[in-house]
Amino acid sequence: MSTKNQTASFGAKLGRLARDNSVPIMFILICAVCIPLAGFSGGYLLNEIITRMGRNTFLILSLLIPIMAGMGLNFGMTLGAMAGEIALILTADWQIWGIPGVVLSMILSIPLSVGLGLLCGKILNMAKGREMVTSYIVSYFINGVYQLVVLYMMGSIIPIAHSSIKLPRGYGIRNTVSLLNMRQCIDNLWAIRVGGVKIPVLTFLIIALLCLVILWFRKTKLGQDMRAVGQDMNVARDAGVDVERTRIISIVISTVLAGFGMILYLQNMGNISTYSSHSQIGMFCIAALLVGGASVDKASIGNVFLGVSLFHLMFIVAPAAGAKITGDSMIGEYFRVFVSYGVITVALVMYETKKRRAKASLGRQLELEQKGADK
């Protein structure tokens, strides 16, 4: 390294900081423009963000572990979401209400999530190097299986008693399943109001607990192995780490957590859109994580919280701001969809170009060496 690099100017450092965090900065700018236009009160915004934070954070946290294991953004978290939904449908049909209903759903979702996670992990091990696109297609594929189960097998093979859930034709589940009897049961327990802002204390405690578990997990042997596998599969294998198994475990954990997250999410919403709740959830969670400054190979708990607040701030203000500017509320709706996809595109492009830049750097070093020798 030349001495020039060591005395890199403050400006250059700032530039690098800006480049490394370009996505969050971009989002802060978008929000800064949109908030005054939308004209919402601060209290309203805060309330909304707190609600959405409680609703979504758990789901987004489920993405962290596969990133640690080098498997990229787990588009297959949708699988967990589907497992959670199936568990909730059954719980709703058995009329188990309130917190016991949530707990039972979580327990029921575990075997489903583990099974789906194992399948997804096995498939991803067969497609090393393109985990993301594969997990993305896996989520579609399993969505087909989910529809097969929910639309044709529930009510015919799997007993469903209540006509409020079942389609009139005798099998299949309705478009919406009401969870009125467990709606916000966790959010409302111990909830406190601070100046008109409702804080769902228990939900945040659960999220905090998961954060602690993730922090603890990083310190375990398995966590260490995952980091090793994520950085260099071959080295880890040479050192005796069972690479394939470790990768599968990371996906299984992610799927189970996503299942729990989906149950928490839906208890807040109060109803299940049987055929669409899960389909977009993966995309929005990934977008939120990326907005928080995470990348395909690096993500922290801080990214999750920053991402969930910024992304949902944008989500709330964009339609109103769009309506203000153009007089059409749909513009803002489309705008936020565009931004969600756009941010994932940008993050993926940045990740790939960074990989290529790392490869090219050695040549420059050689050239410098030779020039150094000339002097």
Partner: protein
């Protein structure tokens, strides 16, 4: 060693080899379709009507499947970014109507007007894909999605005036579906239509596809086409042979984007409507799985793959609802379509031999 590979193999080995190279999923799909055809008469479904439907849907979709070929050949993988081309086609279609063209002329003008958009978008898209070699498929998917979402905003904002297209009440913003009656509804299908009893063959549309397919076949036999195949087969070899890989890849992306634009126009003329907003969103997946069902892999595809794949895929899509419905009174076609198409893509993505790139 390898010189006498062929002679030393027994017949059963060869058969197994043939099955392996054809791919088990493809055999299952082909067998399933065959079963549907055989069962059709027994469950009281008119066989020829089914064939007609299948041929119709084949003719609507084949061009979009053909759009996969150039990018597979140049090693850019499956074009999950197909919606980008579709968006160009939609721009051509809406502009052609806006400018007041009618009948067959509106179809020609739609293609003409879509071309500059397809070329410009294709150039940008190709440039992007060159910067992210190795990660094409995932990024292509999201480029397609972003483009569709972006166009949703534009459909609302662009100053279209034609009363056939804008919302009647507001007087601005395009409708979600626009009828093509009086424009190019069935212009190709009705041209050179062949009727044999119940069997109706949309001669014009199939001829149009055949022309494009022939052009593609011919292109692959030219110097540049040969270079494109080589780039896809082994990019390092091509580079060592003095080929500008990036240029060839961009060319393939532009071709693919343009074909997607034309493909959606052909689809519209058969379907009779222009679908805007979120409609192009998931149009890439059926096209991708169709070509894979036809025997293509992530880096090899031929015109035959396109024809066989589109026919099998559309055959299943059209046959399952009717046959299944009359058999067990359950319409499971949508679910079967999702499982078959995505399962096929998964199969292609997880095959060892293709995992190298």
């Amino acid at each position: 060693m390898s010189e006498n590979v062929w002679t030393s193999k027994s017949l059963s080995d060869r058969l197994r080899g043939a099955v392996a190279s054809f791919g088990l999923p493809r055999l299952i799909i082909a067998g399933f379709l065959l079963l549907l055809f055989i069962m059709a008469p027994f469950v009281g479904v008119n066989f020829f009507t089914q064939i007609t439907n299948t041929l119709n849907r084949f003719s609507w979709n084949a061009v979009m499947v053909l759009a996969m070929v150039p990018m597979v050949h140049s090693g850019c993988g499956l074009n999950f970014g197909l919606p980008l081309g579709i968006v160009s086609g939609l721009l051509g279609a809406t502009m052609s109507i806006e400018f007041g063209f009618t009948g067959a002329m509106s179809f020609v003008m739609a293609i003409v007007l879509a071309t500059p958009f397809a070329v410009v978008l294709g150039l940008g898209y190709g440039w992007l894909l060159n910067r992210i070699k190795g990660g094409e498929m995932m990024i292509a998917t999201y480029v397609g999605f972003s483009a569709v979402a972006f166009m949703c905003i534009l459909w609302l904002l662009l100053p279209f005036k034609s009363p056939n297209m804008v919302w009647g009440l507001a007087g601005k913003g395009l409708r979600t579906t626009i009828s093509l009656e009086g424009y190019y509804d069935k212009v190709l299908a009705n041209f050179l239509q062949v009727r044999i009893g119940d069997l109706v063959i949309p001669g014009g549309t199939i001829l149009f596809f055949a022309l494009l397919a022939f052009a593609m076949w011919a292109f692959l036999h030219t110097k540049t086409g040969t270079a494109m195949t080589a780039v896809g087969s082994n990019p390092t070899f091509a580079r060592a042979s003095g080929i500008n890989i990036d240029k060839i890849r961009i060319l393939s992306v532009v071709m693919s984007t343009w074909l997607a634009a034309v493909g959606i126009l052909v689809y519209q003329q058969g379907f009779g409507f222009v679908q805007l907003y979120m409609a192009p969103f998931y149009m890439a997946l059926p096209a991708v799985s169709a070509i894979l069902i036809g025997g293509a892999t992530v880096n090899k595809a031929s015109i035959t793959n396109v024809v066989i794949g589109t026919f099998l895929f559309q055959g299943i899509v059209t046959m399952t609802p009717t046959v299944m419905n009359s058999m067990i009174h359950m319409d499971m076609s949508e679910v079967i379509r999702i499982i078959v198409s995505n399962g096929m893509i998964l199969y292609a993505l997880t095959r060892k031999s293709e995992a190298i790139r």
